[in-house]
Symmetry: C2
Subunit: 311 residues, 2 copies
Amino acid sequence: MRIAGIDLGGTEIKAGLVNESGILKKVSTSTEVEKGSEKIVENIVKTIKMLGEKVEAIGIGSPGSIDRKNGIVRYSPNFPQWHDFELGKKVYELTGKKVFIENDANAFTLGEWYYGNAKGCNDFICLTFGTGVGSGVVINKKMLFGKDGIGAELGHIIVSSDGPMCGCGNRGCLESYASAKSVARMAKELVLKHNNSSLLNRVKDINEIESKHVFEEAKNGDFISKYVVEKITDLIAKAISGYIHIFNPEKIILGGGMSKAGNELLNPIIEKTDMYVMKSFKNTYKIELSNLVEDAGILGAASCAIYGMEE
Amino acid sequence: MRIAGIDLGGTEIKAGLVNESGILKKVSTSTEVEKGSEKIVENIVKTIKMLGEKVEAIGIGSPGSIDRKNGIVRYSPNFPQWHDFELGKKVYELTGKKVFIENDANAFTLGEWYYGNAKGCNDFICLTFGTGVGSGVVINKKMLFGKDGIGAELGHIIVSSDGPMCGCGNRGCLESYASAKSVARMAKELVLKHNNSSLLNRVKDINEIESKHVFEEAKNGDFISKYVVEKITDLIAKAISGYIHIFNPEKIILGGGMSKAGNELLNPIIEKTDMYVMKSFKNTYKIELSNLVEDAGILGAASCAIYGMEE
């Protein structure tokens, strides 16, 4: 098996030649979004050729709404010029290889399944805490897509009726609290109000506060940071307890940029989820951090092709 | 196809002879819980024999926690003396027929699939509003059970962090607001506080207020009843919007005793859910009431056998 896994980012295209054991070779190039769609496709094909070896299929992971069946990017925050863009067809025409495209959260989930902590699981959930809260679900060895292939948006359950506005238009979605952006915003608001926090020593401008600063300063004992971590891990745990009641999964795996906070994020979530799950669900699940780190994107993208070929 | 469908209630056992088109014959007998387990099993077998015709298999629907693979009732609110009771084995020994047991919400869901409004659906959700909030989910033509077969507890997602205590031990589960019991309780508390409601004309004792009174008096313009219906349909709609984002289903079907309120329950839920779903999910789903009415129990039970034999 030789798969090209393409992690399609807004600034960089990371590509890897992947087999059963993992990544054999990695390359990358600039996405050059500003040069238009044709150039982006050209750059994708360039990375595939840079991998140098015969590839059987191509897997692409991209943020946004993807029509996986037809290889169409409906829209993507990284590529605002793309509306119903036939990426799959275009890459196929230039390479002659089968192309499989998934959104980045689904790709992450498949990557965890084939290469990460979900190896061998029949039922598991992945949550990615980044700009937004992404998710993927595998039930009974099948990925959850839903009737129109737009399901598994676990970040958009309402966890607090009168919570902050979410990008989706609702109030109080999990994403409106637990995305890296929301964590930074919550901390900023509190710092502005109380003007007493070690977060102020970390940045020149208060708008530079990032979620990683919040987790680090919580560890250092900063009151505001501790409060924010307490609050958001509590809401994440409440949401996860709901997912456990719904899916009865074997594992819940946490990834995305914010998961780099490690045990500062993981431990309170484990502790609080245990508190919130119903008695009959206690000890039926494990919550773990992704261990794929920087390779999650490429391995996830390659896994889309593996899953697609097996389907 | 000739299936015996057994709707196992705490006071009555309703049985039906069921084929592809529906119920051919109905019988019933007292459960006689007070006479012990052996007598209950005897009464189940009696109803099967009363059906008079050769049956191929037996399906049983029962409230409680059911080990469907092994036909074991782990526990049931109707039969407090049963702990890990091998109901399937016992009925098999006395009849020689294959026996399939599911909890009542799963049975209801399968009944909707084979005989009700979910006919032909590949992805749908059922919610039953009764003593508790039950649920069943079909994804990609398969029932959702989870790793240990205890999943699809959609009534136990937390919809409001500081809500009332739920039977499961958490605060603010959907069930803590939207069960018939919770609706009655909420109305009672408000009537006690304000002592001004047409609900007082419906009952001799305030403790006799039931959810059906609340829906009827809301229709009659009673302020407290209208407030309660507004509040609980809002929370149900928020929960349903979450399920839609998670499952991207074709239909959501509402059943259980409280669904007899009809459009008084359905219409505000439809309206509010439309408000809460993300743009990309608008018009992808339908919310409907179950149309199986009094036959839902028997048809659901029979459907457990049909599903079990096809599995």
